[in-house]
Subunit: 336 residues, 2 copies
DNA sequence: TCACTCCTTGGAAACGTTTCCTTAAAAAAA
DNA sequence: TTTTTTTAAGGAAACGTTTCCAAGGAGTGA
């Protein structure tokens, strides 16, 4: 029913192979026949079938993108970066939300395997041992974004979380703050959790400030946990003057909580966030943050993947630069 | 190199068709042979090839999702809704950003055509005549989300923008506000622009309030245009006491501007937004808004598409309910 | 025992390409 | 002119499935 290469061949009075050749710009076809074929294609409104092509050439020009949750503010920019590059190279992306659930990750992987995705981009802050094992045996090139594995068995693009947290804390110290609380991520999170806590501790230590484990609070990066941890901060007798939050969303939660309880930001609390999401920028006061180059992380990951697919070799672990963006949520301690 | 159905057949000592039958749970295969085949599959670690299957059955189980920009806060939730339903029915989604550019829309459509997407979900607030024409001749089922065409030639899922704007304005009026400005969308936008302006006007009119075209400001739904339009509001001698914004992001921009200039929200200005994005919820003060059921719009659109693909008939134009969410950015006029 | 059904099964054909092998024709060389 | 080389073109085979048709065998009823 739909018009195929065969119909075109017949119409143009040439062979099958010839049509295929003009379709793929093979050199050895005379100008004359090329024209005939092109005319036939136009006339019949022929449309190539990428599925049939894929079956033969064993490449689908599709990339699987596994992500915890596209509706979580951190991810869309990454995906945009991925798609832009993919598009440039004529690849498509298949988007899969996993919610970090083992079951969904497994299903997603199976789907991608069956649909013969040429490669996979895995975006997350954690990667489980099981998934790593699955990844290793699936035999599809994979690049990790915003996470990496300790053994460096996978390609990855990340930022230096430890140093970023260090810089953020250092920034607060530079402003004169001596008692700095941290609203951290998850204790067991090897990317957004631990390294950021370590960076915070190192900055304190290096500046000769006392580390008080009681003012490190653990959250899940979301608004509510920022808000609730701030509640705890407000109950402290010896309140900190500054807060480093491991996510912008928690920072905003903390700021909201403070303001709702009659405190001022940055007058009573200087707050610095992490990630660089829109919310931090548009909040009032705008939240100082260390921005992860999300778009670039996606773009870079996709570029690496394409290179891998083309057989070029690429650096195994890429670290992109973060950026400390000064806004209005932090001020010099004591100044009014 | 990779193991196929043929290898399985050989190993199990059965015919090709038989393997295919157990793979597809056809009834007519004895328990005994089914077992043999299953064993062979396990032993060889056989993995079906969806590409080959698609070629034969003429269905890829892939849905194209065309969206202006996934990194714009309005869209991710919609996509999440889509993907959840898709996933449930074993479909995959191919995500394409179009930036509302004709060229990219065209390319995306061609890609989807070649890759034989079973259906398309088009998300936007506008759809151009040209694209409509392309859609009509492409012969792939299409559902529009968050937009519709005047002629009702396409399936669509939207909300009643006029009524939503009406309710929002009415809400402000009920609070006692008499002079209500609007920060509107684009004058030529047939979905998020015009109807919302009309709803605003109707509410005013119906309540006997004077319509002042000078306090309708036009923006592009983004923060900056909210901020800048608010600047104009602040210059007015006869300032409004309330503002209805056609997007949350503009509402937040307006609120930021007001607060930065020493005004208070909601004391000096009651502000109501539109969309129900996270930013409005987490802003301080939290912004009252009329929430579009974005997740549900995506989910519903996908459900409709699946039904269409299964040959069931479905309602042509579906309107989902919006919800006015009261938060802290609006208060009774005059009250302190 | 024979004729009929019904249930399983095997395998060829088809889906729409690309690629490789041939061959015909044209061009170049002798 | 004849031989050799080059170029253009045709078409079969293959990619990995599904589906359809034919057929063997077992069961059933008379």
């Amino acid at each position: 029913m739909s018009v195929t290469i065969k119909d075109v061949a017949k119409k143009a009075g040439v062979g099958l192979g010839t049509v295929s050749r003009v379709l793929n710009n093979h050199p050895s076809v005379s100008e004359e026949t090329r024209k005939k074929v092109l005319d036939a294609i136009k006339e019949l409104d022929y449309n190539p079938n990428a599925i049939a092509r894929s079956l033969k050439v064993k490449s689908t020009k599709s990339i699987g993108v596994m992500i915890p949750d596209i509706s979580s503010a951190f991810y869309p920019d990454i995906v945009r970066g991925i798609e832009d590059i993919a598009n440039e190279y004529k690849y498509n992306i298949i988007l899969l939300n996993t919610d970090l659930k083992r079951e969904k990750e497994k299903e997603a992987l199976i789907m991608l395997k069956e649909k013969k995705a040429d490669g996979i981009l895995f975006i997350s802050n954690t990667i489980s041992e099981k998934l790593k094992r699955d990844f290793k045996k699936v035999n599809i090139p994979i690049v990790l974004i915003a996470t990496k594995d300790d053994e460096s068995e996978f390609y990855s693009v990340t930022i230096d979380n430890e140093r970023a947290a260090y810089e953020a804390t250092k920034y607060l110290i530079k402003l004169g703050h001596k008692r700095i609380a941290m609203i951290a991520g998850k204790k067991e999170d090897p990317n957004a959790g631990i390294p950021r806590i370590n960076g915070y501790k190192r900055a304190l230590e290096e500046s000769g400030l006392k580390l008080d484990e009681n003012i490190i609070f653990y959250g899940d990066y979301k608004f509510k946990s920022g808000y609730q941890n701030m509640l705890k901060v407000l109950k402290l007798k010896d309140k900190p003057t500054a807060i480093f939050s491991a996510s912008d969303t928690m920072a905003v939660g903390a700021a909201s909580c403070a303001m709702q309880h009659g405190f001022k930001v940055p007058d009573d609390f200087s707050i610095i966030g992490f990630d660089g999401v829109e919310l931090a920028e548009y909040f009032y006061p705008p939240i100082t943050t260390v921005k992860q180059p999300r778009y670039e992380m996606g773009a870079k990951g996709m570029e690496m993947l394409i290179k891998i697919l083309q057989g070029e070799d690429v650096e195994r672990e890429v670290q992109l630069d973060f950026e400390l963006i000064e806004r209005s949520s932090c001020k010099v301690k004591g100044e009014s």
